[in-house]
Symmetry: C2
Subunit: 382 residues, 2 copies
């Protein structure tokens, strides 16, 4: 078959270091299973490209990337210490912009961030039920608080007024909520297949094997809060087998710390999802293990984008110290996604995930450099 | 002296139950020290009032409250299960509205929520450094995401668009940031007096005894994020003794779980502060111990409002099970605040806090009903 094509964009800081390990694993898997897969490495978006060309990526970057089936991104940005702008190389509004441009340009309206505390990962919570954390946070990734509308009136004067507009469409809202319910069903099915079972309760259905929890701040941000709530109730009628729940974002953050094992699928707006997924990342052991999948589920011709949730970590960049685990997990998620086009890739994704998880279970907590972890996972791939 | 006057508004659910214990303590303290203090109990805002009068509070409620030196509020709202609107008595946009009306009406532009893990309080984090958590989250309480502007276009149709406007003024921004720096200085002084010392680092000053961390999401919400950052840098120049730091809201939530003991004073916008204070409440042992102080520091003639961070807890209301600790802590904070007008009240506040903290240290973790906890604290007041 025609090979699927991946655009590899290592980016800045530790990005290239962890991407190198991911590519080694991809090579090994391709060789082993004759995977129909090829990739191209791009020097942009990056600070380095900006230094040479005065922009983080070429003007036709999105057109170039559009020809690929997926984008595998390392990390962007090198903001330096956040409180010392004099040491910025580039403000992060410039160096991170490609992230938001790709999400919007390729209509990656879903951002999926799974959170499970894998054996070997660091446990931050005192309660041992933390071991049962197994949730999927689904973040609306294309509208809401991130539309970038607003401005600064009388900038720099004592009378300045800064505004930021949040814009939510019913279409976007319904899509993300429906996507959440579909995932909840699929997760329940997968659990059933594995002989695991979970129980959730809600007023609509007394006991259910899956749950969707909607997040809003509808007691203060009424307009979209009400719309989200109404659409949620409407869509829920199509999924009588899935329990429903609603939390305000502030209470949700609290419950993520108090009882995260009670959540299954969580659906949130762009900003609230951003916040919850960082929290969820800690719950699953920290940034070192958290993948982020920016998906366009509608259009198979548009590339989805896969990145670890962590940033470019300028403080340890260039030293070979970064943990590539999140990047490998991310790569496994990408292969799984590409499995929609070539089922054999989903299998390879599972293999990579299993290798990475086995390595984490065995060595998690010990101090190892990037190469050592990468090689250890590679060895498990045979 | 002319007594200071407190408007006591018990509200809904567990509100009246915990307020009763607070009032017992106030009575005891008044008697013991001849405190210049009197209070009036109001049956509103509440669901009960709404049932009789068709509104949660009278039209002239704010005028009535304006004559008091402080408002001591129990809890508002009885939304029922969030995902079952049929069981709402009143939507929370109605029953909680008085909170926002008081904050705006009395220009309580500061919301102060201290977070310390007191001995006896539940520790949710695995790391024992959690015992050192000692931060003050300062939330902008009068503008930003909470201005309530926006609407729903083509409501209920598939073409609906919901908008919510965030509006930030430079004046509001500067005030809250300056307030944060002042608090940082005062906290450092207090620590010095107690012989405790903490160390913070930042690029501007190598080592400092206090820190202000500014929270934004300036990489996505640029306009006010930039304004906040600029004002922060400007104001910081007046406080060369205070270390500065900047976190994005998503990273801040993560660090609140990973290393909350590293924070001192945290300044955040209205919504981001709302989120961080719920998280901070968990870090200090949960909603059962978290006070919330809505302050107008400019105008001594306008009442400030003191409420526990917890809600009306309809699930346990009426059973005498609610923990009044947060309410007692809140009352202590109120007395401390009123100490600006009558220093003897600040002393009484300290006494109440000490009694509550001693009770928590001795009995925290044991299951006790509202009355038992209240009586135990009362007994310690002598
Ligand atoms: C870098 C930033 C714009 C981005 C976001 O807020 O979406 C990041 O925090 C993320 O979660 O992917
Ligand atoms: C009830 C609600 C409007 C309120 C807020 O968001 O400010 C509450 O969450 C709080 O923190 O006091």
């Amino acid at each position: 078959p025609e090979p699927l094509r991946i655009a590899v964009t290592p980016g800045d800081g530790i990005g290239p270091e962890v991407v190198t390990e991911a590519v080694h694993c991809l090579e090994r898997l391709r060789e082993k299973h004759q995977l129909p897969l090829e990739w191209t490495r791009f020097p942009w978006p990056s600070h380095a490209w900006h230094e040479q060309h005065g922009e983080v990526m070429p003007a036709d970057a999105l057109q170039q990337l559009a020809r690929y089936d997926a984008i595998l991104l390392g990390a962007l940005g090198d903001p330096g210490p956040m409180d010392d702008p004099d040491r910025y190389l580039l403000p992060d509004s410039v160096s991170l912009a490609p992230l938001l441009e790709m999400r919007k340009g390729f209509d990656q309206w879903v951002c999926e961030r799974p959170a499970r505390l894998l054996p070997g990962a660091r446990q931050y919570l005192a309660d041992d039920r933390a071991r049962d954390i197994d949730m999927l946070v689904i973040r609306e990734n294309s509208e809401g608080e991130y539309v970038g509308q607003g401005g600064r009136l009388r900038q720099g004067t004592e009378h300045e007024v800064a505004t930021q507009m949040e814009v939510f469409t019913r279409r976007g809202t319904e899509s993300i909520i429906r996507y959440g319910f579909e995932q909840a069903r699929q997760r329940a099915e997968a659990r059933r297949a594995e002989g695991r079972k979970r129980e959730f309760r809600s007023p609509q259905c007394r006991v259910s094997e899956s749950q969707v929890c909607l997040i809003t701040k509808r007691n203060a941000l009424r307009y979209w809060g009400d719309m989200y709530t109404e659409v949620f109730q409407e869509v829920a009628r199509d999924y009588p087998d899935v329990a429903t729940h609603h939390e305000l974002i502030d209470a949700a953050c609290m419950k993520f710390v108090q009882a995260p094992w009670a959540f299954d699928v969580v659906v949130a707006s762009n900003l609230q999802g951003d916040i919850l997924t960082d929290l969820a990342a800690v719950l699953s052991g920290g940034m070192g293990v958290a993948p982020s999948c920016n998906l366009n589920p509608d259009n198979p011709d548009m590339p989805s984008m896969f990145e670890p949730t962590h940033g470019s970590a300028p403080d340890i960049a260039g030293q070979g110290l970064a943990d590539p685990t999140a990047m490998l997990f991310t790569t496994a998620r990408m292969l799984d996604w590409l499995g929609r086009k070539e089922p054999v890739l989903a299998k390879a994704g599972q293999e990579l995930f299993d290798a990475m998880a086995a390595d984490l279970a065995e060595n998690g907590g010990t101090q190892r450099d990037t190469r050592t972890i990468g090689d250890s996972v590679l060895a498990r791939l045979g």
